[in-house]
């Protein structure tokens, strides 16, 4: 299949709705890496290796040397925000990275100025930015976004663009008739249907412009038939949703381990404290609901209580997020896991993760941008389930349950890359090494 992947020629534009803590940390980091100041730790696309062939072959190339990804040198950043701060100013406010680092890439960051955002306080109450587009209908707003994309391409001479949503969590909504078909959806845009959230306007504009779209928040956005069908029609890659960082990352690492060993789980209590803008938005119950649904689903799929009722049938799972200003972006999670083993004897696991929200999310944004660009060049349109590795609530084909186990997600991603490049898939069977010993007798 490898011959079919178009090369990464020319510049790649990464357009981001929401130039807040996560996006500015990513942009500043890429600029720092380009200058040789720092290393893109946590970005599999830059630092990760992939095994090819047998274990004894010792072939472990860097992923970026194996598949044709865009070079960091060829990336141009742009985006939209409800505040008009440039990326340097926004990064200073976010207080994630040290000022001394930011000052070394100040020129590059100041050059990235947000375009006016599409925004609606009905979807996010706790924000109050004023740098907002105005137009009679949501249809008009979508067209303004498409115009922004075209202007950006022309101004920066980029050959390809991807869009990655890094803006806030919107209030919880469920799919309804307006989300069912692209026709109903476009009608809704023209009618200002209240069920069309701002994030959906971005996604629609992106797909219409032929730009792969990734949803980094738990919002419904592209997780609706209208936009899925539209992406297939347009031949555009889409992916979502909700960057998998912090506590949920840890959960999808630990839970598969417990499940692997057939250890039962009676309760899982997860609490978070964080003091950044994300925490402030999630302090509103309507917005937390959206996040909660995304966070709660992961254990259900990994443990499969319906087929393992003795082990997971009574699992009580609770997730709390607490706005705690003293921590700023230093999100901290504490989990208590009540497990039981042989003959039902109880045991406990406590995990305390002193993480940094944006530090974990930034490399994910970069990886998704680069891999979505690869997918587009490999002519993989519609949902990119192989990128579920990065997402809390992976979008899947209708009727297909998502996989949350990060290790299955990893194999899926690695075997997809091998498949794209025409390499053998890896099954870890490895009986041949031992047959050799028998044959040698």
């Amino acid at each position: 299949m490898s011959t079919q992947v178009a090369k990464a020629e020319g510049k790649l534009g990464i357009l981001i709705p929401g130039l807040g803590a996560v996006a500015t940390t990513m942009i500043a980091g890429v600029e720092a890496v380009k200058k040789g100041i720092s290393a893109p730790i946590g970005a599999l696309s830059q630092m990760g290796r992939i095994r090819l062939g047998k274990r004894t072959d010792n072939r472990y190339p860097l992923i970026k040397d194996f598949v044709p990804l865009a070079n960091l040198e060829d990336i141009v950043f742009g985006g939209w925000d409800v505040y008009e701060d440039n990326v340097y100013e926004a990064a200073i406010n976010a207080a994630v990275l040290d000022r001394s680092l930011l000052d070394q890439v100040k020129t590059e960051l100041e050059a990235v100025k947000p375009m006016k955002a599409v925004f609606d306080t009905a979807y996010i109450k706790n924000l109050d930015g004023k740098h907002i587009k105005e137009a009679p209908t949501k249809w008009d707003l979508a067209n303004l976004l498409i115009q922004d994309i075209e202007n950006f391409k022309a101004a920066n001479n980029v050959s390809r663009v991807v869009m990655v949503w890094c803006a806030s969590t919107e209030k919880y909504i469920e799919p309804s008739a307006v989300h069912a078909t692209i026709e109903a959806f476009e009608e809704g845009l023209k009618n200002n249907d209240p069920s069309i959230a701002p994030s959906m306007i971005y996604a629609y504009a992106s797909i219409k412009a032929g730009v792969p779209f990734t949803n980094g928040a738990p919002n419904l956005t592209v997780d609706i038939n209208a936009l899925l069908d539209y992406s297939l029609q347009q031949g555009v890659a889409i992916a979502g949703k909700d960057f998998k960082t912090g506590q949920t990352l840890m959960k999808t690492i630990l839970a598969p381990g417990l499940h692997a060993r057939a250890l039962g789980v009676r309760g899982w209590f997860s609490t978070n404290i964080l003091g950044n803008r994300d925490g402030l938005v999630l302090d509103d119950p309507d917005n937390f609901k959206t996040k909660e649904v995304s966070k709660l689903s992961v254990l259900e799929e990994i443990f499969e209580p319906e087929v393992n009722p003795e082990l997971y049938g009574d699992l009580y799972h609770k997730v709390r997020i607490n706005y705690y200003p003293p921590h700023g972006d230093n999100k901290e999670s504490w989990d208590n896991i009540d497990i039981f083993g042989w003959l039902g004897y109880p045991m406990q696991i406590k995990v305390n993760f002193l993480c940094r929200d944006s530090i974990l999310a930034a490399p994910i944004v970069l990886d998704l941008a680069l891999f979505m660009d690869l997918a587009q060049r490999a002519e993989l349109s519609g949902i990119q389930e192989w990128l579920s590795f990065y997402l809390k609530s992976p979008q899947t084909a209708p009727g297909l349950p998502p996989m949350h186990d990060i290790f299955k997600q990893l194999i899926k991603m690695q075997n997809t890359l091998r498949h794209i490049m025409g390499e053998d898939l890896i099954t870890h069977l490895g009986l041949d090494y031992y047959q050799d010993l028998v044959d040698a007798l």
Copy 2:
């Protein structure tokens, strides 16, 4: 291949050197399960399921319904110990299971009386049992063990036997000339070579008697060329070493997760407190050395610092075990992990595992016994690397580095079972679900 696996007909004898906390917890548990008093939680062979076919096929049989394992009803237990307590008495002393549970299977447990052990205080200083075989040479001791095996088979009318080492950690030794060939080894047995540890005498006897041997401690035992070659010649399955429970289990769950995301690790400090006999033996530095080597190796392989020097080149890994009587068998571990992400920013993970040593180990003993019996019937001789899922220091083909990542080990085991039964291996590629969507356009 499935047609080649002989059925599990007749009784299976499980012979155990070391009828201490782990073995008695396993035996009592199996008896309780047979009576319907309790459930074999943690035993994949009993509770675990395996996916067959595509995700949409919904085929998730129990492993025990998929591969021909011995039935719990057909198991007979026996073993050796340096103390002459029967299994009921030993289980009471071990204080792992509630007395009320033990009393419900008292008759069955009292019936299991240890045979005299092969023992040498030069290898384990902190134990002082008196129920010990005496003979002029190690060769004679081996023959006495083989005689024990034969007597046990005859007395209990068992058709197949497996041996699982559940005894203590011996002092640290390295392979030398006497371990290089079976000829040198047999000569050493006759000469009472001090480099032949008691566990090696058991292993030799087991292989000679055609009985699969599994090493649950970090001792050298079968990890020597002499016994590997001998097992291939005899067509006997062997596996080892060191049951993977507690902190190391957790480590081989977490480390692959960090590695998957290309997160760097600067330090990993692991401490344990436990108050059982295992803790007492490991309080002796000579014996701890053996355990330490086993415990330290896992991170090295998972992180591969030689190919990922920026991420893991400076990893400082320290493991401590502390004898702490107030906890008894309730082993508790605390880990501090110093990680770094995007641009090198530091984060920390703390894991506190309030586990129970024998509760975690018991189902592993059962699984290994049943799967080793399966391997033998499937005519897989020599090292069973596919069972490395259960082991801290998996034995592999000479020159082949072990895999410690528990999720790779799991896939290896599952795909081996699928292979044995003639089912398709699973690669998690799954692009077909999405091709269907495109085709449906």
Copy 3:
């Protein structure tokens, strides 16, 4: 002063509104102790010692040998509840103590049958008991309670009675006109004023009957002028409020330590998980408000941010309680404390307390009952601030700020006992030991 304390002659009745987990654990424990089955750990009145005189005097009598407390043999229990289960049945349901222990005192526990409770769902929504008194007015209900007390005294031949509130947290209310004077309060009882909570009816009845009253919940109850004045008029001891257990106990231990060393505190995040009836009641926001106010106040007083603004002026304090059924009565708390030291450098303390709610509360109930009886005999009427050692929100003289520092509370209690018995108070000055050295030169 010691000559003035009347001896503890005759039987002491302990009457308890709320025969739930805490009360039944206390009663069962006292019966077990009387039978020599167990020890009253955690009860200072039974196990604690007090230093008298100089350090070199070596006088450390048991408190119960120093002050004239009622003997456990002379205690008779009674109480009220909205469920009609006797204490044995209620203790089984509470699932705090092992059944095997409860069965050894079954006869004694079954003999304690609750009287019908005064209850109002307007104050506690999440309970639904049916064992409830009915009467036209709150005045009538109070009289029924007084009649209960008299009947209990007569039936059990007790010479003295104390009442300790162990029932649930009521919804949050603030003092209003009806709580200002005893006249207004009695008028309110007759008018069924909705601001008079059930707990106030018990307290009024208790004081009217000459029975010392202790408030173990965070309810307003006796914390109103009407009942304070009435207690002084009646010469009755009162104390409250809210038993200090678990997380708040830990907080009033740790916070004084940080304050002692002039370490700054920027944030204190406290979360709890528990699955008992207390947790269920507190899952209702109205009831949680009452608890939250009680829990939040302690740090304010200990740190005195108004006089130490550089250290504690920005302290962000948050308390969460989560209903988590898998834990039952095994309440678990997790605290994150963000402190700062020399030159403002930040540090963190994490405390994870795996406690048992009723196990911590039960000895407090016993101690308060015995010390309140002592206070009454020592003719100390009104508020007993010296018992604030046991209470989350100590009641104090109007205008006097409470002290939450558990060590100041301890000294207050110990010096009060020394004062009552005519012993020297202890100041820990101790310069005399060193003057002796100089004099010896």
Copy 4:
């Protein structure tokens, strides 16, 4: 007594053996405070207040406004070290404080250059400095130190000097004949008796020069009759030993809390990880022994198992220190405390303290220097037990057991200060507030 305290006139010299992480952090901090750059958090002498009179008096002056302490402006620093780095260089190497802070006080720090140290590798194996005094006998070394003190006073025009030992932990030794009398000791100095450690030579020189001496390490040093008697003869204040920071600080906060409530303790496991020079020195078992003895003693005294055998008779206490380079000066402790309450039911407390060793120690050095100077002016000679608040192993009058409870130590210190200034001692009795209420009826 207040009239007797001489005023703090003229300059105060603080001379420090060991200009490492702790000392340089303290010195840099004092200079930063003097410039208004930072605040002396953690220094009770600077930030702490003291209550005077009744609670309702609202008299809470700063301690430094209450007792006549030397002003920070009047302090001059000096010291000795085995490395010749000046304090700026040593502080950079210690990596405790940010370089940007150090650069703001660079001139002041560079001015403090260490004098050559008295050092002996027989007492500290893991250090290898070369900046060391040479002389035929220990007597000569002592005289060289006295000469250093005199030179320092003259060169800096200081009127008073105090010495605070901030150097490393020496190997464990016990008192012997040479330590029994000042005559034997002086003879030993002349004979180069191997039982006289370098720290003792400093202490002797200090006392001889009339300079108060404080021992911040767990070394034997002044804890011998020879030097105690000598200090009384010379009228010089001495104090020791071992600065109470980190885990032991936490222990002497928590243990009194558990003891206050008569909660039993079955086990206390304490582990530390740290990566600074202190950690390196303590990696040697001979030196760890000295620290271990100091750390282990605190629980014994607080819990008094001999008078509370049911609660603390079986307490198993274990302390571990692990050299863990990734943490540098960021010492981290983890404690597991196995407690039991009502009827013996078990509970657990886990404390994870992410502290910074030198940040906690630096203000203690300052406080001790200032209070020792006060003691000397108040003519308190010999042991200053009232400063045990700051010390892990407080020195006391012969035969008098030390008090480790930090809250008793605090009251002792506060009441000593009140006593020195002629204020009423505080007993927390406070019954008068309530008598007022009765009287008002």
